[in-house]
Amino acid sequence: MLDYIHQVFADLVANNLLPEMFSYGFLINALIASLMIGPLLGALGTLVVVKRLAFLSEAVGHSALTGVSIGILLGEPITAPWISLFAFSVLFALVLQWVRGRTTVPYDALIGVFLSFALALGAALLMFVAKFVNAHLVEQVLFGSVLMAAASDIQVLLIMFVLVITLAWRFGNQAFLVALAPDIAHNNKISVKLHDYGFVLLIALVTVAAVKIIGAILVGALLLIPAASARLITHDLRSMVLCSVAISTFSAVAGVLIPMHLQLAIATGPAIILCACACFVMTLILHGARGKTAHA
């Protein structure tokens, strides 16, 4: 399937319908990945914003750093340490949620502690790992790379994409009700605890699936910025979700294509997040202008 898509793009380039850069297989892979990452993170991000858990996505993203280091140390392939990556991030998210239910420490403070731990452990292990692998690979883990999107990454992303779409279709409304009014949700026979665990688990899985394109440091930002931008300019939940998905997808695609087109030596992660930030600034201006119009 992937070969067929590559061939279609190659034909389009050969017929001068697309620029030369689309003949590179790695770019097409990155483009397909970004077309899945965008909607995934954009849609989940709205729930992150409603739950006010932006900090959680950052913490889970940073835990991926540790997962990669552990994977390399345990002998997993350097470019695809999936088992350690998924295992550590999922464990990190579940332990965080478990501790939350058993302590009176405020959730944001608890996430801060876990984030610091994950970052410190990841940094310590990464320094150790850097002795054995090319330092450039470490940089790719931190900030993502357009070169890293292999067929296996696209398969993982596709599985996550289908999983999230299915869950969103069946349980999306329940998830928002749990976030907005847990008492009412509980009364409506919705398991608040299961939803809370499911949410952190999903954040962990999606973050890990996207980490090779956006990077461990910045993946949390794409969960936050599009939804925060959409929140500024929309008036209901539907437009917020759709707007967040649109901004996130646009940022992901633009972040892959613009540096390639302009031949800029910028990693994919920072490029995607800078595009998302540009969208945020625009929505901020639009929001301000609307405010002034409303007051005039």
């Binding site: 409304n173 928002f176 009412i184 929140r231």
Partner: protein, 258 residues
């Protein structure tokens, strides 16, 4: 008992509370509450602030861990569904969640972001509570009274047989109160059971069949007027005792000064 209830059109449950106790850390919120709330009646929970009224309601709704037991005796005619209206639902003003979104989240499985038509049951409840003009407003921008009506709409959308309402009339003007009370009266006429926390004795006397005075435990229960009378008598006795104590203290002080 179940067959009899169904025969007279009562769909709401009776609630049997046996030796209910609720502890939060070392603080006892409620202790030794035992009572039976009959099916198809309107029950009012009353008492001072911090007395445990909302705690009792939450425990009936299954939202509070407790000792003792709470049993719901449902008739067979309808699925056992409870509509719960919390006292406070914190809505953030800047979140783009409209009233229609909120009602949809409560009443359908189809994702809100893929819904383009209002469902008929939402239309019915919206008409009933006169909140049609609020549908596109953000829930965070609603007044207290408007929020109460939206929360009641959410409870009614469940098509319940039992309504658990925590101060549903708080912050609502006279006309709004009458609207809500009329809706609840209809609900009771259709056989539903209502348990409502309420401070206003006038409302309790006029609408409720039973009143329960809660202050750390169940102090009195029965006909609202009788409960009020007992409460007033106790209060006047307490006041008289306090007055006589104060008088006695003053006389002692005067005697010492002399």
């Amino acid at each position: 008992m179940k067959a009899n209830l169904a025969a007279v059109g009562i769909t709401g449950p009776a609630i049997e509370i046996n030796n209910l106790g609720i502890q939060l850390g070392k603080i006892t919120l409620l202790s030794a509450v035992s009572t039976t709330m009959s099916a198809g009646l309107w029950h009012g929970i009353v008492g001072p602030n911090g007395g445990g009224k909302s705690t009792l309601l939450k425990s009936i709704a299954g939202l509070m861990p407790h000792s003792g037991s709470i049993a719901m005796l449902w008739s067979n005619t309808k699925a056992p569904i409870i509509g719960y209206m919390p006292q406070l639902a914190p809505f953030e003003q800047s979140l783009p969640i409209s009233v229609l979104d909120y009602l949809r989240l409560n009443s359908q499985n189809r994702p809100v972001w893929l819904s383009f038509k209002k469902r008929s049951e939402i239309n019915d409840v919206v008409e009933l509570l006169a909140i049609k003009t609020l549908l596109n407003n953000r829930v965070g921008t609603l007044s207290m009274g408007e929020r109460q009506r939206v929360l009641l709409a959410c409870a009614l959308l469940q098509k319940p047989s039992l309504l658990l309402l925590d101060e549903p009339l708080a912050g609502i003007d006279k006309a709004g109160q009458e609207k809500i009370l009329a809706v609840l009266t209809d609900f009771k006429k259709q056989g539903g059971t209502i348990v409502m926390v309420e401070h206003n004795w006038q409302v309790l006397q006029q609408y409720c069949d039973q009143a329960y005075f809660i202050d750390g435990g169940l102090k009195k229960s029965g006909n609202p007027t009788e409960v009020l009378q007992q409460q007033l008598t106790e209060q006047s006795l307490e006041q008289a005792q306090q007055r006589s104590l104060l008088l006695a203290n003053n006389q002692t002080d005067e005697a010492r000064t002399a």
